[in-house]
């Protein structure tokens, strides 16, 4: 039996020095990538290119409608102010919701891009790109791995 997961279940929140705010209320798309850089190590006898994975990266983006009323979990001006470029925080998400026991992801990151799109013939939308950052140690980078961490 297939048990697909559909968008409306998703939970996303942002934690910074001002507290925790859920931001998934009017979202239209959430994207999480896990990827790695690579180094080519092709040598003379190789018959095809040869690579090694090097440094991992975990960018996240969310797209949503701009909500004039601004109450959580919607994205209004107050939330956009907290989510402006260069702001650091922890982004947490659960594709199956925020219930205990659900798979959860979390990254330590900064806001790389805040894009507001205002077409004449439709609602205003917002796109936020989060850049995971950190080095070694706990509490930075990929804090919670959504493929194994459940809380």
């Amino acid at each position: 039996m297939s048990e697909w997961v559909a968008g409306p279940l998703i939970y996303v929140d942002w934690i910074d020095n001002s507290g925790t705010i859920p931001i998934h209320g009017d979202y239209t798309k959430f994207n999480f990538q896990r990827k790695t850089d690579k180094a080519e190590i092709t040598a003379g006898a190789d018959v095809s290119r040869n690579y090694l994975p090097t440094i991992a990266d975990y960018p996240v983006s969310i797209e949503a409608f701009f909500n004039r009323s601004g109450g959580t979990p919607a994205i209004g001006t107050a939330v956009l102010h907290r989510l402006r470029e260069k702001q650091y925080g922890t982004l947490r998400w659960g594709l199956e919701g925020n219930g205990t026991g659900s798979p959860k992801g979390a990254i330590y990151c900064f806001v790389e891009t805040q894009e507001v799109d205002a077409p004449n013939d439709g609602p205003v939308t917002v796109k936020l790109d989060f850049q995971t950052t950190g080095g070694s140690g706990s509490g930075v980078g990929l804090i919670s791995d959504p493929t194994i961490d459940v809380w």
Partner: protein, 135 residues
């Protein structure tokens, strides 16, 4: 789901029936879906021609297309009343109940159609409006 269509139609009727120019032109002869048989000209009939749920995000938003038919024995009068409807609705959001917000309302198609009803020439002017709501 609350009756979003009914909420919109109540707001549309209220908007038209409180418009001074429209009331002067047709009085109370504004009907939903269908006018009574043998209704004397001039009058307005409106109905939904398309409605859909966006389903693009967790909260709710919908779009509707409403058609307004103006029927008059006089071509210029039909055109004028259609213009009054445009003035009353185009980019003038409706006040909705049930927690809904009308964030977008614009005129779209316009059609002119001369007809014969019961042997009399009738000028029908059709205006369509796209109405988008969220809550």
């Amino acid at each position: 789901m609350s009756d979003a269509q009914g909420i919109i139609e109540t707001a549309l009727y209220s908007r038209l029936s409180t418009n001074t120019n429209i009331m002067a032109a047709v009085g109370a002869k504004i009907y939903q879906e269908q006018a009574p048989d043998k209704t004397p000209l001039d009058y307005i009939v409106f109905h939904m021609v398309d409605g859909r749920d966006d389903n693009s995000h967790p909260t709710r938003s919908m779009q509707f297309d409403y058609q307004f038919d103006v029927l008059s024995a006089n071509r210029a009068t039909a055109r004028q009343i259609a213009g009054y409807i445009d003035d009353a609705l185009h980019l003038v959001p409706l006040t909705l109940s049930g927690g809904w917000t009308n964030y977008y309302i614009v005129g779209t198609r316009q059609i002119s159609r001369p007809e014969n009803i019961d042997g009399s020439q009738v000028y029908r002017r059709i205006r369509e409006f796209n109405i988008r709501i969220s809550k």
